[in-house]
């Protein structure tokens, strides 16, 4: 092979190199660091080289750590409840607002405002609203004539409800805009065909619109699920995991293990468990779309072949 030909063959790799460098330093290095740390008994006062290598002990500890189990369970419960509520509300709103009314663009912008507020601010905002005596909720309840307000943040059941409400308030708009975008790109003629075929408005929604939006909705659902598993700031500010462990989601547990208990190795192990779980979700989503696409392409190619 001549030198020119070899240089030509290497050119693409040269152009890829900067991206590869960024990827290695920004992504692979921290993850590798974290995986390595999860095998160490490491406190913040030590340098990483001084920490003792303990193998899988941190992971073994997690298996028997009932607080971690509790957090794991709270996280799954939280993610499941908020994502379900947000999907129902977001898609419902999109169905209601998918029409040309004057001022709709302003309304849409207003709807997505909560998403744009920093989570810490959202947490503080809701903490004041949930305040047992001066918060707007309890003042309103009392003005209706009830003697006692709701113990929003001091009762373990109510505090879970409180964080769910705050999360739903912040993230429903995300599903709303994605659902709306999906709805507006639906083939108009298929809906007209359904109308001529005799479908009512409700049948058009359940038989045509929702099934056609399904690919977008599945991806939206997974994105939200991944995000819900990692939620931290709002809950940190609202309840700090309490009362007890009732709202202590995994991210908060990891944060406390590292900050309060000074167990960096164990925190890293927890992070890796969370990472594995999210990775499984992501890969599942990826495979789902890939398989669907490949199947359609294969069948179509076969069909074109028989025709010509």
């Amino acid at each position: 092979m001549s030198a020119v030909a070899r240089a030509n063959r290497l050119t693409p790799y040269l152009f890829l190199a900067p991206a590869a460098v960024v990827l290695i330093f920004a992504l692979l290095y921290p993850i590798g660091y974290m995986i390595y740390a999860s095998f160490l008994d490491w406190s913040p006062s030590q340098r990483i080289g001084q920490a003792e290598f303990v193998g899988l002990k941190n992971y073994a500890n997690l298996l028997h750590d009932s607080a971690f189990h509790e957090s794991f369970w709270v996280t799954i419960k939280f993610a499941f409840v908020v994502v379900t509520l947000e999907m129902v509300l977001g898609v419902g709103l999109a169905l209601l607002l998918d029409r040309n009314i004057r001022g709709m663009s302003v309304l849409r912008t207003v709807f997505i405002l909560p998403m744009m507020i920093a989570p810490i601010v959202v947490g503080l905002m809701w903490r004041y609203m949930y305040h047992p005596t001066v918060g707007i909720f309890n003042r309103t309840i009392k003005s209706w004539g009830f003697d006692e307000g709701i113990p929003w943040l001091s009762d373990s059941t109510w505090s879970f409800v409180a964080v769910v409400i705050a999360d739903v308030w912040q993230w429903t708009p995300f599903i709303f805009i994605l659902a709306l975008a999906a709805m507006q790109s639906l083939p108009r003629s298929a809906l007209e065909a359904a109308e001529i075929d005799g479908a009512s408005e409700w049948q058009k929604i359940t038989l045509i619109k929702i099934p056609l939006m399904m690919p977008v909705l599945v991806v939206t659902l997974l994105l939200r699920l991944i995000d819900a598993f990692k939620v931290l700031e709002v809950i940190l500010v609202l309840t700090n995991g309490g009362p007890g462990l009732s709202t202590e989601i995994i991210a908060l547990r990891i944060f406390r293990t590292a900050q309060e208990f000074q167990e960096l190795g164990e925190a890293a192990a927890m992070s890796n468990v969370l990472l594995l779980m999210l990775m499984a979700l992501t890969i599942g989503m990826f495979m789902y779309t890939k398989i669907q696409e490949a199947r359609a392409a294969r069948m179509r190619a076969a069909a074109e072949q028989t025709e010509s």
Binding site: S189, A190, A193, G198, M299, T306
Partner: protein
Amino acid sequence: MPRIRLEGLVKRYGDFEVLHGIDLEMEENEFTVFVGPSGCGKSTTLRMIAGLETVSDGEIFIDDRPVSHLEPKARDLAMVFQDYALYPHLDVARNMSFALRLQKVPKAEINKKVGDVARMLGLTDYLHRKPAELSGGQRQRVAMGRALTRDSSTFLFDEPLSNLDAKLRGQMRAELALMRQQVQKNMIYVTHDQIEAMTLADRIVVMHGGYIQQHGTPEELYKNPANKFVAGFLGSPPMNFLDASVEDRGGELFVTGAGFSISLTQKRQQNIQKADLRNVTLGIRPSDLRFNPNAPEDASLDLKVVVSEYIGAQSVLICDCAGQKIEVELKSDTPIGLGETLRFEVNADAIHLFDREREVAL
């Protein structure tokens, strides 16, 4: 099957009127084709009949029943869309049975009907495919099948063949003509393709600028176009138009222009005298000119051949007639050479005269 009548149908978008009072009557079991260039209002008219567009003014009657306020589903129509409008998430069988399932027709009956229609359209092997897994021609057939399965009294077609390639389009056109013989229904078909219109229609409605230009059988429209637009729109290659005037030479009428002077037939002379018009447009179809060096001067055109387009058995000559372009269709084996000036005999019975101002036929 029902008679459909349009009475003073008007469509406005805001202040902009796109249809200006359409009056039309379609007989039972008639295949009516709306044809015209884009933006002429043909699709809008069809969509108003379907109930997909609101009626701004006027009324649509199906068997004397006014329907313009009714939902599409109450009008007993089936429609085939330009982009097929199949339900992408349902397989072929469920696409075709969608309407019947909504009507809660018994399952056995649905299966029988879908099976029958699929057999007729050659879709039996594809009943469990999704639309994305079908080729263009197959999708087109499914769209057709979905309309047929419904068994409604009227079929609407909105440019159903325009998304297919030329070869497939010809094939589907023939299949449509065949289906037309098997299915006795009202059919209303919109197209911009005059060949589709001519080959499929019982009656053609030519539209232009939101008005009906002419309504009649393909033969009527081809032989006696009501105006210059219809004359130029139907027929391929299109009719030639030459500026001319009518001259009286001792009681004999001649239509003369730059480089020609053709005597008119008796019958035509009577019509012209009544109207007493001088400035006209002469229309001659390319197929009504015949190469004949010995033709008399008052029944022929002398044309200089500029370009010859070889199509096969036929060739189209693009010629120059004293500065005006004119096309001639003739057998390819006619011995002609580029650049020559040749004499072509005009079929005097087949010439068309139009008022140059108002463009109506004389």
